[in-house]
C-alpha cells in the first residue's frame, strides 16, 4: 500500500473499530451462542468423558455417578449450577429441580457408592433418558437452536424430525414476518410513489412543504408515532368515533383496528414510508422534466410515456426503497410489540422474548441468524437481478 492508501486506511480506522465493537462483536457473539454452548461441558467435563463410553442402554456405571456427584457439588460452590440445570432442562424438561436439589441432598446422604445415594434421592437418576439429556447438553457445538428455530428436533437416534404440532411456532412466525414485510413494502410503494412524484415535480416552494410532511414524522420519536396510532385506532379512538358518528359503524360494532395485524400493518406502513419516499424522490429528482415532454413530442400518451420512459428510470429508487423497507420491516420490533396484540407479533418480538424473558440466548441467536441470512440472501438476489450499484438512497 502506498502512503496515500495508508493514510486513507488510517482515516477509516476509527469507524472500523466502532463497527467492530458495536456491531460485529455482539453480532458474532450472538451467532456463536446460537451454535456453541459450553455451560455443561465446562461444568461436568469428567462426567461427560465417562458418559461417552456409556452404551446408552442401561444405567451408566458407578464412575459416572461419582464424577457427576462431585462435579455437581463443585458447580454449586461456583454458583453455576443454575445455568447448568436450565441448560439440561431445555433438553429434557423437568430436570431442573432435580439437578438443583440433588447436591444439597447428597451432602446429607451417607458415604458409600454414589449410585445408590443418587437413586435414593430420585429414581430418575436411574433413568437413561436423564443421562441422555446430560450427554446431549454436554455437547458444546449444537444445531439444536437452529433446528428449534425451524420447528425441528433431533430424535434420540439422531435423525431430524418435526416438532409436535403444538410446539411448531417459528416457521409460521417467519412466514408471517415475511408476509407482513412484503405487505408493508407494497403498501409503502403504492403510497410512496405518487407522493415522491408529487414532491419531485412540485415547485421548489411546495416541494419544501411536502417534504416536511414526510420528514417531520420521520424525525419524531418512534414511540410517539406508534402510540399516536393507538390513540387513533383503538376501539374508543378517533377513527372509530368518526365512523360511528358518520354512521358507517354501529356503536356496539366498533372495529378492532389496533392490537392485531391491522394495527401492525397500518403503523408500520406509516413509519417506514419515508424510507420508500426518500430514495424514490432522489431518483425522480434526477430525471429531467424534459423526458416526459420529449416522450409526448414523439407521440406517446401519458401512460405510454410513464410506462416506457419514466417508470424504468425510477426502478433503482423502487428497488432501493423496497429493499430498505422490507429489511427494516422484517426486523421491526417496537411497533408490533405495542400495536400488534397477539396476531401482530413478528419474529423480532420472539427474539426479544428469548433475550429478556426466557433467557434462551441460543435460540434468540438462531432466530436472529436466520433473519440475517434471509436479508443477506435477498441482497444477493437483488444484486444479481437488478444490481446494487444502481441503488440511490438520497
Amino acid at each position: 500500500m502506498n502512503g496515500a492508501g495508508l493514510r486513507a486506511a488510517g482515516l477509516v480506522l476509527p469507524l472500523a473499530a466502532f463497527i467492530a465493537v458495536t456491531f460485529a462483536l455482539p453480532l458474532g457473539t450472538m451467532l456463536v451462542r446460537s451454535v456453541y454452548d459450553p455451560t455443561v461441558a465446562e461444568a461436568m467435563p469428567e462426567t461427560l468423558t465417562r458418559l461417552g463410553e456409556w452404551d446408552g442402554a442401561g444405567m451408566p456405571d458407578e464412575v459416572v455417578y461419582s464424577r457427576a456427584a462431585a462435579e455437581l457439588a463443585r458447580a454449586t460452590e461456583q454458583g453455576t449450577l443454575g445455568q447448568v440445570a436450565s441448560r439440561i432442562n431445555r433438553v429434557r424438561s423437568g430436570l431442573r429441580s432435580l439437578l438443583v436439589r440433588t447436591p444439597r441432598q447428597l451432602r446429607d446422604s451417607p458415604a458409600g457408592p454414589r449410585r445408590e445415594a443418587l437413586l435414593a434421592i430420585d429414581e430418575r437418576w436411574g433413568d437413561p433418558e436423564t443421562w441422555h439429556a446430560i450427554r446431549t447438553a454436554g455437547d458444546p457445538l449444537t444445531a439444536r437452536h437452529y433446528l428449534h428455530a425451524l420447528d425441528l428436533d433431533r430424535a434420540r437416534d439422531g435423525s431430524i424430525v418435526q416438532r409436535p404440532a403444538e410446539e411448531r411456532v417459528y416457521l409460521r412466525l417467519f412466514a408471517r414476518t415475511f408476509a407482513v414485510g412484503l405487505a408493508v413494502t407494497v403498501l409503502c410503494m403504492l403510497l410512496g410513489y405518487p407522493i415522491a412524484y408529487l414532491i419531485a415535480h412540485a415547485s421548489a416552494r411546495n416541494a419544501r412543504w411536502l417534504l416536511a410532511f414526510v420528514l417531520v414524522p420521520f424525525w419524531t420519536s418512534l414511540l410517539v408515532r406508534t402510540t399516536s396510532w393507538i390513540v387513533l385506532l383503538q376501539t374508543q379512538g378517533v377513527v372509530n368515533d368518526l365512523l360511528v358518528t358518520v354512521g358507517l359503524v354501529a356503536d356496539d360494532g366498533r372495529l378492532a383496528l389496533v392490537h392485531n395485524m391491522t394495527g401492525t400493518l397500518v403503523a408500520m406502513t406509516h413509519i417506514l414510508l419515508p424510507f420508500m419516499v426518500l430514495p424514490l424522490y432522489s431518483v425522480m429528482r434526477g430525471i429531467p422534466s424534459r423526458q416526459m415532454a420529449a416522450a409526448a413530442s414523439l407521440g406517446a400518451g401519458f401512460f405510454q410515456a410513464f410506462r416506457r420512459v419514466y417508470w424504468p428510470q425510477t426502478v433503482p429508487g423502487v428497488g432501493a426503497g423496497s429493499l430498505l423497507v422490507f429489511i427494516l420491516a422484517i426486523g421491526y420490533y417496537i411497533t408490533p410489540a405495542l400495536v400488534g396484540g397477539q396476531s401482530g407479533q413478528l419474529i423480532s418480538n420472539f427474539i426479544a422474548y428469548h433475550m429478556q424473558t426466557s433467557l434462551n440466548w441460543g435460540l434468540a441467536g438462531a432466530l436472529g441468524g436466520i433473519l440475517l441470512a434471509s436479508v443477506a440472501a435477498l441482497y444477493v438476489v437483488y444484486d444479481r437481478v437488478v444490481g446494487v450499484e444502481g441503488i440511490r438512497l438520497g
Partner: protein, 384 residues
Amino acid sequence: MTPPERESLRRLLKRRPPGAPAHVELERVTKSYDGRNAVVRDLDLSVSRGEFLTLLGPSGSGKTTCLMMLAGFEAPSSGTIRVHGRDVNRVPPRRRGIGMVFQNYALFPHMTVGGNLSFPLEVRGLEPAVRRERVGRALELVRLEGFEYRRPSQLSGGQQQRVAIARALVFEPDLVLMDEPLGALDRRLREELQYEIRRIHSDLGVTVLYVTHDQNEAMVMSDRVAVFRAGRIEQVASPEALYEEPERSFVARFIGENNRLPGRVMAVRDEICEVDVAGRIVRAFRVVECAPGDRVTLSIRPERVALAPTPGLYTNEFEAQIEDITFLGDHLRLRVRVCGRSDFVVKIPNMVGHGAVIEGDRVRVGWIPTDCRVLDPDNEEDTA
C-alpha cells in the same frame, strides 16, 4: 448624391417577392406565465413550407416559450397558432406530429440509440420490419450507422445530439423545432453539426424552426432570422438583409458591429434625411418614419466607412482623429474621434499603403448615405 449612391438607393427600394404558402403562423400570440408579465407579446410570425427560420435573441427574450407553444407544452394566453392553416391551440403535443430537439438532448438514458429512435415508431404502432428500416435510415441520415446498440451515455456530446436530431426526424414530421441544439458543444463540433443540420434540412425539405442566441449560427444556417427582443420580434429577414438593412436600432446593435450616432432629424427629402449629429449634418437613408425634430439613431457598419476618401466622392465627409489602432491580421480596426464620439470604429482592409496610418493622425472619413441608416432612437439599457 453621387451616381453610385443613387444606384445603391435604387436597389434598396426594390421589393422582395411574397414567400411560399405558410406552414406555421402565429397570429397576435401573447403568453404570460404569471398573468401579469407577458414574456411573448402580440407576436406575428409566418413560416413557409420548407423554410429554415431561426429565432435569435438575447436570453429571456421568449424564444423557448415560442417553441413550447408551438409544440403544445404551453398554451398561448391569447392569439392563434396555425399549422397548415389549422388552429392547433387545443391539440395536445403528442397529436401535433412535430419533431422536437431539446437543448439538453432529452434522450432516454435507459434505452439504446436504436430504442430511442424506435420509440416514436412503436407508439405509432408500426411493424417491427418498418421500424428497423426507418431507424436504419435515420441513423444513416445523421451518419451514425452501427451505433444502434449503444447507450446515450456511451456517446460523445456531438453523437448524442445527432441521435436527438435523428429521433426528432425518424417519424417523418414535416416540422421540426430545435431549441439551441448545439448550445453545449464546442466550436468545432458546432460548425460541423451546423453544416449537417443544413444538409439534412435540404435533403428532407422539412420546415425547421431553430432557436439560438449565437448570431453567427443564425447567419450561417437560416433562410430567415427572426430577431427577438423582450417577447417581441424586432425584425424578420434573411441574414443578408438583417446585416445590410437592419430596420431597428436593436437589430443593428445585435447583428454584427455597428457605429451608432444619436441625432435629430433636420430635414427629410424622399428617402434621405439630414440629421444633426453633434452639430454636423449627416445624410442618411430613412428606414423608420420620421419628421424634422425627431430623435433618431444613425447606424453605420465600420467596414462601410472609408478613410481619407477622394474629396467629393462621398456626401458625408468629416474630419476625424485616430485614437487607436488594433491590428487584426487581415484588417485594421481604428477607433476614431468624429461627430462628437470617440468610439467610432472604422475597419480597413490590411492592404498596401495602409501601414501609413498612425495613432493621433488627423484624417478624413466618409460614407455614402445609403450605408447610413436612420433608425429608432436607441436606449442603451436593453443591450443584448
